[in-house]
């Protein structure tokens, strides 16, 4: 019972944070951490539940960011006709939705293309896709302003009784919005994972040919998972761009994908709580390291942590902790009741730690 309440207790504590935490900087770090946790959760849906590593995940994040920014700012595009195509600034939430939809559409496209191959090929297609996107953002100056970046992106708004739509300029409110959306994303992923789709995904992760012979349309489920994952990553990107209110081609940097991957594998891929735990850890680690070391040292630490985790804790922190508790319970109560209700059995990784 307590295990069920624990996540809600955590959310409640996080929600009251702006009341007693006056440090704006910590709120800022928490907000961007929250955004990256949403992105990491979306990556986990692919990496953790289907076993497919999308190393170009930042592409969806960036597409969401750019689309939402452009729709909310408005743009004109000279496509060679007599009159350039002009789009007036749209309401931010409409732009936000547009970001999600376009990212999801690209997810569909990549899923259709890339799942003709698996494993290493999928990884390379996704990296390539992210690189192409970065170059489009750099070179399509008419639309994206290239390296000059899109500036003055309006913040997201919220409807408030009596006041109508209020833009969220204050850090506290944006923090709460990100927290709320992170909870929504978490619940959404929980639903998907525990549904028929989730079971199909886990089945094909564990044994693709067996899943296929059981009548699961493997490629279709993979594409569905990619669309969901891409849409969620797009939402995270849109949240990010309306938060920092500027977007440039660096949003497609590979290191952001690496940050998401490291959050997922450290926390525990294929677990619901994994990306949250890993996300909090790696959201704060750079801030702690910043005071004592150069940024390069931070990346060295990231790289080494990644290797160490794979060698010594291949399933990540969350499964390791749950197993520890399950063991204690078993030895204390002499095997009474079912141990835990983890949605997915952690993946057996043969000989990884031997």
């Amino acid at each position: 019972m307590t295990a069920r309440l624990l996540p809600w207790l955590f959310v409640a504590i996080m929600a009251t944070l702006p009341l007693w935490m006056r440090d704006q900087y910590i709120l800022y770090v928490l907000t961007s951490t929250g955004i990256f946790i949403i992105a990491a959760m979306s990556l986990n849906l692919l990496l953790g539940y289907t076993g497919q590593l999308s190393l170009g995940h930042v592409a969806f994040f960036g597409i969401g960011a750019y689309t939402s920014a452009l729709l909310s700012l408005g743009f004109d595009l000279d496509y060679g006709g007599a009159q350039p195509f002009v789009l007036d600034p749209q309401p931010v939430w409409l732009a936000f939705l547009g970001g999600i939809l376009l990212a999801a559409a690209f997810g569909w496209l990549i899923g259709k293309l890339a799942f003709r191959v698996r494993g290493a090929y999928f990884v390379i297609v996704t990296i390539s896709f992210a690189q192409v996107m970065r170059m489009v953002a750099l070179n399509w100056v008419d639309l994206t302003e290239g390296p000059m970046a899109l500036n003055n992106i309006p913040p997201l708004t919220v409807w408030w009784p009596g006041e109508g739509l209020v833009p969220l300029y204050k850090k506290e409110y944006y923090y709460l919005l990100v927290l709320a959306l992170a909870v929504v994303s978490f619940l959404l992923i929980q639903r998907v994972v525990r549904s028929r789709i989730g079971r199909a995904l886990i089945a094909l992760r564990e044994n693709e040919s067996l899943a296929r012979s059981a009548g699961i349309n493997v490629t279709r489920y993979l594409v569905v998972a990619t669309v969901l994952s891409a849409g969620m990553a797009g939402a995270a990107g849109a949240l990010y761009t309306h938060y920092i209110r500027i977007v440039d081609p660096d949003v497609f940097m590979f290191i952001y994908t690496v940050t998401m991957v490291i959050m997922v594998i450290t926390g525990g891929k294929g677990t619901l709580a994994g990306p949250v735990v890993g996300g909090l850890l790696f959201g704060f680690l750079p801030e702690v390291l910043r005071d004592v070391a150069q940024p390069e040292v931070q990346w060295i630490v990231y790289g080494v942590v990644m290797i160490v985790i794979v060698f010594f804790l291949p399933q990540g922190i969350v499964p390791a902790v749950t197993n520890l508790f399950a063991l204690k319970k078993q030895s204390g109560k002499k095997q009474s009741g079912r141990n835990g209700h983890r949605p997915a059995a952690p993946r057996v990784s043969e000989g990884a730690s031997s």
């Binding site: 076993g51 590593l53 190393l55 293309l113 890339a114 003709r116 191959v117 494993g119 290493a120 090929y121 990884v123 390379i124 297609v125 990296i127 390539s128 896709f129 690189q131 192409v132 170059m135 489009v136 750099l138 070179n139 590979f254 290191i255 690496v258 991957v261 594998i265 150069q294 390069e296 040292v297 931070q298 990346w299 060295i300 990231y302 790289g303 080494v304 942590v305 990644m306 290797i307 794979v310 060698f311 291949p314 990784s349 043969e350 000989g351 990884a352 031997s354």
Partner: protein
Amino acid sequence: MPEFLQHLANAVVLGGTYALLGIGLTLIFGIMRVVNFTHGELYTFGAYMAFMLAGLFGLNFFVSLALAATLGFLLGALIEFTLLRPLKGADIDTTMLVMIGAWIAMQAGQQLMWGGVAKSVPNPFPTEPVVLGPVSVGPIRLFVLAVAVVLLAVFYLLINRTKLGVAMRATFQDPDTAALMGVNNGLMYTLTFAIGSGLAAIAGALLGPIFVVTPTMGDLVALKAFAIVILGGLGNIPGATIGGFVLALVEEFGAGYVSSGYRDAMGFLLIIAVLAVRPQGLFAAKERIG
């Protein structure tokens, strides 16, 4: 027409080094099945070593090249020994994550060591281009092409004609039988990874004097190497050689006639197209090694 020939000449020179990179990676990725994300870092490492030896220590340029390749070989052996050997039998995703970790750590390490400012490798070649009819090529580029061609030839002989090459191929076809025949499997793994790494390092050392050396120069190169390997078909050495030249041609003509801003995007579009149409690679392997 002269413009066309000039692009062709540039593409051939670039293609030589791409082929070196592609062959190195097709050994490691295609035959050993290790998704080697450190390949680009070995390339960067080679370039920095050439800068250090020739630029800082004032060693002879040619000696520096040879030493840079040797150091790359040794670093590759070290990576195989410490990171990959303990993971033998692990699935491809596990090794992939370890290699990504190694990639990030190595890149940040080189950044820390050399700083972000671009370095250039001094070389003894005159800057005056050699003019051959309508085409002009820098002497250093001709030298790079010559070295690349020689190395490719040596590599073919090594793999196809020597006992070592036979042992290497046997190990990856059937490790157990190879071991029964007296092949030291572990040694073959280390050697293969080290040779692939050495090829990446010399490619970096060769291109260092033509372009500039920066800590992140390996990123695009690593991805291009993957493109070449996929283009040629996994583990297909002639395929990787041709793939290197094909990629160079596509980039050079794409940059010349379509848009120079998208030069580096050509390779990725090529990968996406190849995987969509012919996932087994353009040159379906008749005599596949591995």
